[in-house]
């Protein structure tokens, strides 16, 4: 199953969400280019509203609801960036957002969601309790469930980051994005396919959560047996809506070690003076790991977000 008319959908989405999201800048670094022996273009979604690309998909999904649905609100389960994104997007559009979070989630994440106006519903930290809590809200309020990554409108929304990148730099040879739940890489792959010029979409993920790499090998959605990675945004697994797109349109998945992630993150912080979260650094880590592939090529890198706990840095 593929998304129909992805090109038109991406362009329409881009116009639809424009009043609600930033067009983020594309930065370059002479020093990192030299080190990687390639030409890199960093699409800085860490400068996006609420600090991550997730704002795009959340906004698109809400704007596509009809008026009745908007009145009843939206619900999701997430303890990461999508929880904040849905809260802020909903608030901007004037819609109620219910966020199911495990009671064990860090207070700082709960505070962030509340700060953006989301209503937190706590549940036990199990997948079952989470699904049940979301179901209950849907029944009681009539809110529409929006999945953080396995939702066509979310996927299209995330793809607009790469669409903008290719508008600014139409001649990229590669675009690399991190792979978590699969929404960003699927949207990126659709943008590359429809707006790239002989360009390839590459995913990157930690060895510790290499479900996408193994799924691409086996042809079916694989789970993770280990999840001990600093890239906490990438622990989720692929879904039935984004996996077929990834299978069709992603050229390769590059896996990286934890050390490589931390080194890439430090490099971006020290050389580019921008704050990126570990999940974002995974994409640069992939380019540095497979230098030969990217040598003398123009490569776009989706810097997915910049929400880090400054009290808990890996340096």
């Amino acid at each position: 199953m593929a998304i129909e008319n992805a090109k038109r959908q991406l362009l329409q989405c881009y116009e639809r969400i424009k009043p609600y999201v930033h067009r983020t800048p594309v930065l370059t670094s002479f020093q990192i280019d030299k080190l990687s022996t390639s030409e890199l273009f960093f699409k800085c979604e860490n400068f996006q509203r609420m600090g991550a690309y997730k704002m795009r998909g959340a906004t698109n999904a809400i704007l596509l609801l009809d008026d009745q649905q908007k009145k009843r609100g939206v619900v999701t389960h997430s303890s990461g960036n999508f929880a904040q994104a849905l809260s802020l997007a909903a608030k901007s559009i004037g819609v109620e957002a219910y966020i199911v979070m495990p009671s064990s989630a860090p207070q700082v994440k709960k505070d962030a969601v509340m700060g953006y106006g989301g209503k937190i519903v706590e549940c036990e930290p199990t997948l079952e309790a989470r699904a049940k809590a979301a179901q209950k809200i849907q029944v009681e309020t009539g809110a529409t469930f929006i999945h953080p990554s396995n939702d066509e409108n979310v996927i299209i929304g995330q793809g607009t980051a790469c669409l903008e990148l290719l508008q600014d730099h139409p001649d990229l040879d590669f675009v690399v994005a991190p792979v978590g739940g699969g929404g960003l890489i699927a949207g990126t792959a659709l943008a590359v396919q429809n707006f790239g010029n002989d360009c390839k979409a590459i995913g990157s993920e930690p060895f510790e959560v290499d479900d996408a790499y193994r799924s691409l090998q086996s042809g079916k959605i694989e789970g993770n047996e280990t999840t001990d990675t600093i890239a906490d945004g990438l622990k989720t697994q692929l879904g039935d809506k984004n996996f077929p797109i990834i299978l069709d349109h992603v050229d390769a998945i590059i896996r990286v070690t934890e050390d490589e992630i931390v080194n890439a993150m430090r490099l971006i912080w020290e050389r580019m003076k921008i704050i990126v979260e570990p999940s974002s650094a995974v994409a640069l880590a992939a380019v540095l790991r497979e230098k030969q592939r990217f040598k003398n090529k123009k490569t776009g890198i989706i810097i997915s977000g910049g929400n880090v706990d400054l009290k808990n840095l890996p340096f």
Copy 2:
């Protein structure tokens, strides 16, 4: 004593150093505007080459040497950003740079200078030993001494950051810059005076090193009795070339506490996702401390640099 034809000098300098420095972006933050009840425009010299505005003054000073002087090189004493700036500027122009540093300087700073091609000359950590070492190099090599802040060409160079800021935003009511050795604030004040439209230059410094505040009160250059501040770039004192400019053209110096500096720094990191050094945060801290003064005004803030030791953060 004032600098003659500052307007023409600033414009000429701007053209002269253009091939060697970045035109840095001006960023804004909706969240910090709301918090400060004012409209802030951050001139991001943390994105400047080698990570600080010092690149501007160093480049200007070297470019103004004649060919004979260029052949003999330049020398300065600094263990901070100016050491790196002079090294990189000299390398870019093809000139030798000798950097006198106390033997006690952190290895990371020595490595940075060497990384940019500067030749380090170590000395005992006293002002006397430092001056003697610099003198010796001048005699032996014929190199020209360039002071990090008390040099007209350096002052004019640093002023181009504010010149660019006012080109982008001609209607600023204030421009706030941190005060250390006085080069940046003097250059900023000259730019404000010549290119601002009813605009005022404001300096900011930690209470711990409030020599500029007291100097402005007494009318003569005062020293510091305490220097226990996290803003390590601001521990130096004013000089006879920049002080008269500061006296004439700076409207006020606002002092801030160490807590206010760390809070402002955290705010910039968390909200703007950019890495700024403590000395840079002093300017935002001043705006947040004296909210009434800046209320509903347009204020430019010179983010002076982004060189921090990631292993030693105050959060």
